[in-house]
Symmetry: D2
């Protein structure tokens, strides 16, 4: 065991950087939304649905920027309700671009990207809808709902259905599309759908996204504080839409959204199309062979998880493991050594794992293949 | 050792109640400002200085109420700047009572008491001043500073100097009073002084409070989020003024403030006058004798700290301790067994401790006496 | 949301009791092996394989007793190697019952049951084998291996194969039985097999147990300290065999073992036969309906996990969930509220869950049904 | 990223390196006894009093070595009772050097130094006494106590009184010396005294050490497991004697002990002579000026504590602090920024602090001076 312990020590150290405030408090628990890039694309963490005092939220826009920066997001949009203005007594007739203007200003010295967006707030159908990457929010405020959508299309906005599972509008919580939604889709005025909103999740919304070829969206729809709703100080996270963008720009993100290049992350579950979910998962775990243990045919494999999400993985190889059953949880920011019984000593080994906390569709789980060279024994490199 | 271990087990259990949210997160770390009452008076945790979007703060008043309730405060005042209105473009010409009105509404179903208050925001002298327990904020907004103070006095407001150590107004950070302050005091228009403001502390302000017989005040002056500034999710706390009030009412608190019945709690340090600091400290630690150990003259004494503050105590008795040096830290929400070498077996013992994290004045530390009966051996009660 | 928040508050509080030592340290993290009983049987946590200085272990037998009591075990056996005595220079020719005698003495004032046992330590075949519930260890020490097994049978011992996956005896780590093992089984001299040993797990040993109708056993085989090997102070646990016994006695446990009434718990995975695994899992989670949310058909269901194990459960009902995907992790000692979209409002609902951290056989997962009455709305009881 | 990581390091962030075991557990909480060296001398952490199965302890000597290595000690001695052999039934008539031999062997591949030692176990007077750096334990076992001491002197052993406050030998817990002790001191047969033993501390023993010019010693006297007695997994520490040695050798340590070059660390309290305590404390905190804040005369000073001990420090300068009262706790492995109101802007500043968790003698606390250059403004280096 001595040798493998040594390997463990030299390979299995994880470095945690923790900032100490002047109060002497330890921020090590602060959550950072971090996922690796995928080949050819940046992985950008985005939240395209939230509110401030400029509609029915409880914070000034600068707090939304600070929350996002503390959590490590790449992009937000403060999507105020156009039609619903409960603070109008105090903030009368606001310019509907004002929240975006203030959030942009607050973010000016950070890397956070703020995009303009509004919530078109209607009874069902079509219910609530977000239009983002808009040019001017004011003309989208219309008496007639279809006029609002036409204006959003005119501005080349990316438009998505909000919380189709909302029990205030769907007593059974079941997401459904009605003729008006189908008309919007057909006319190119609706492009995405929230499969996750705030603290709710919808298998049926996922099915709708697949049926009507819409972009998967997940948002916080935060009105109060994200720290409180998601218990971020103790390791929780807000729902985000991971956007796979060729550029770290608004244009890149917008193109990616229209092209359905997203994965939703919610309660450590990932929802996405195969072409984006597979490379994200593949890169989220770093899997490498450390070499065979002594004269046995038991291969030590290191699984390193640098992300803040856990993963529930299921062995799909023909091999069994010497220390673990086939289903395992890989904890956030951890390193695990897996002992694979390969029966013979091979020069390379392929390990397929099904990710049970990821899905293309309800009950449809991705399987990711890791190809390992067993010859890069770290012993030789030391 | 077996017997004393048994005593430990039956006496030393602390029960922690933690709520689990639907996210499965553990809120056990959430800080509660809790201190025991003192004889004849409620110990009320108050924060009389804070801001919302109605002056230069970043949250709607309801967030201030929620913060206070989460932290366990008894009373707050949202003391907007009367003269400084950086959000006037969006919130034009507000009724200066509006923040109080909204905070009161937000608190209507909780036990939190909200009192009306405003910040009279002037250059030095007199600098910034808070008037609380006011009747109407609007007439306190005056061109002439003295007129504002006269109006506050007319409303029987309690008035205190804010952050006299503020480096924007005092380059050396040294709190000083100028003739105008003394005039205000003399005319009964200034009654208290912040010895603690936000993240600052002032020995010199304490000296001024004593010299001019003013009430000690400590406040958060929070503009952003208390969780972030004080790292409350990981055990930090905001500064509070503990008010010793005969009633759990606004009237009781106001009378107590005018009567200087306060202790300030800041970074686990307590600042107060002897008549209020002594009973608070005495009751904050529960000290009792468990009995002599075997046939020795070593007395087991239990020190239970139910509060969320630590205490640094120094033995001032003639006895030494069998397991501890004379200066000890009593951790928050902990129980410690102290072994006191009393040389003989006495029926009662008096233990004096100096509290090094409490002060009447700079470098002046209180000594508290605990009188213990050594006969209430818990063995007999089992 | 208000109503369900209220439900949460009145139902979702968990009480944690933590002892504070005289050092002021918090033992809240100390792991307790706790699982509920099943109908008609006690669930007893047992570790039937470990060593002390009386063979090749590094602690006196009293430490094994203290470890077990700190971890909350019900039963241990200090199964010293009969034939392997590396400490013989210092502990010459020991009475092979001595370790049991000292462990029994150390446990005399606790509820821990200590049973006599020895490890018959042979090269492969048959490799190492434990005989427990023996009467006298000394005559089991024989030149000829079969004579040792005959003696164990004469004493009515329960006998099981140790670590059949041990790479020192199986280079490929694959558990196998050879003719000698089959002869032992046929002659009633071998009754169980370790499917888990120390830090190793064997799918192939599970298959052997099923093929040859043997009792599932999981043991620590600890030589050093369990705290260090399993990181118990930070939430880890040693492998245990949960024995379902009609009585809390040695006789009861022995009968249960011969009758294959066991489940092995290892790294929060459960391995057992359906008749024992199903009731254990059923009782490990407390699932109850809290009532329908407002006027919706979304049913709030509380899942309470009082154990120190997590559970990975997969929804197998026809309903989907309003806040969760179908696969979820239930954290140790937590309460989770599940929102079930039942489409209509029913008086009773059946929720089936597959437990992905439990297995009857490799890749064979149990499904447990929870029948809920939706009428015991806690609102009425308040 | 390289540059910003560098900036991160130099600007007051602390980096914690934590090893992850194969179980995925985080050992970040494991305590390491670490203190910086002092000018001209290594600071070596030593525990010269402990037991194994070779007298009345409960572990084999290798566990003592593993404990010491996990905790980061530099040197131990397994000081078995010569006269008290409760395990003699199982370990008959042992060579009294055997424990040392086995511990030395266990430590052969680590940096831990093991020195030979024995406990001369007598009734009072002289009570129990340890002789360390001995050549052969066997001849020290004598019928007559004085003969044992003579033999220890013949071997040039370093000899110290054990637990003079032990209530089994002193009902009042008060350490005292009797004529026999004074004779031993006078004849050069007694050189040190435990002021700390296991979980006990003695002001009176400190006074004896000073009166009779003896070396301060603090030991664990561990019989069970240090993790359990001191709760090391959750941040506790065993008592150690810090020895200031010119060499990292047995000879160096022995010379240092005879020369009284020690400080005892117990419950985060330090006890030592001025010449050794002062440089240890001075180097334990890294204090440096960061520069004046804006155009004020408030100087930012960084206090970095790389050790695993806290420090209670009291400001003794003429300056007051802008954010802290004069007594503060510096937490283990933390960085704190102190704002010093220097009234004018100086090129250099001297800050004296009294350490209230350190003592030369009962109630006699050291004051350490930090001389800071205020010109090495970190701004210029970026």
């Amino acid at each position: 065991m001595k040798k493998s312990l040594f390997l463990l020590i030299i390979t299995g150290l994880s470095i945690k950087v923790s900032a100490q405030s002047t109060n002497g408090h330890d921020h090590a628990h602060d959550q950072k939304v971090y996922f690796p890039d995928v080949p050819g694309f940046y992985t950008l963490s985005c939240d395209f649905h939230m509110h401030t005092v400029f509609s029915d939220g409880s914070v000034w826009p600068n707090i939304r920027v600070q929350e996002a920066n503390r959590e490590g997001l790449d992009c937000i949009s403060t999507t105020e309700h156009l039609e619903y203005q409960p603070h109008s007594k105090d903030i009368p007739h606001p310019d509907r671009n004002r929240s975006f203007e203030l959030a942009s200003h607050a973010a000016r010295n950070s890397e956070l990207i703020v995009v303009a967006g509004s919530e078109i707030t209607r009874s069902m159908p079509p219910g609530h809808t977000n239009a983002i990457f808009i040019e001017d929010a004011n003309p989208i405020l219309q008496d007639n709902a279809m006029d609002a959508f036409r204006e959003a299309r005119k501005q080349n906005a990316f438009v998505f259905t909000n919380h189709p599972m909302w029990t205030a509008q769907r007593k059974d919580g079941i997401a459904k599309y009605e003729p008006m939604h189908l008309e919007l889709i057909e006319k190119g005025m609706l492009h995405g759908i929230e499969v996750v909103n705030e603290t709710t999740f919808s298998d049926e919304a996922i099915a709708l996204a697949l049926k009507y070829d819409l972009t998967f969206i997940g948002t916080s729809d935060i009105h109060g504080l994200t720290d409180w709703l998601y218990d971020i100080p103790h390791g929780g996270h807000r729902p985000v839409t991971l956007v796979f963008s060729a550029e770290r720009t608004k244009e890149g993100m917008k193109a990616a959204l229209f092209n359905k290049q997203t994965v939703v992350w919610y309660k450590d579950m990932f929802i996405g199309r195969k072409e984006w979910l597979d490379p994200l998962l593949h890169n989220s775990l770093e899997v490498s062979a450390l070499g065979y243990d002594g004269d046995t045919s038991v291969l030590s494999v290191e699984i390193n998880n640098p992300t803040h999400s856990h993963y529930i993985i299921q062995n799909k190889s023909d091999y069994t493991f010497h220390e673990d059953p086939s289903i395992m949880i890989i904890e956030p920011q951890s390193t695990k050594i897996l002992s694979v019984k390969t029966l013979e000593r091979f020069d390379s080994v392929i390990l397929p794992f099904t990710f049970l906390n990821a899905m293309y569709a309800p009950d449809t789980y991705p399987t990711i293949f890791y190809e390992l060279s067993t010859k890069n024994d770290p012993d030789t490199s030391n």
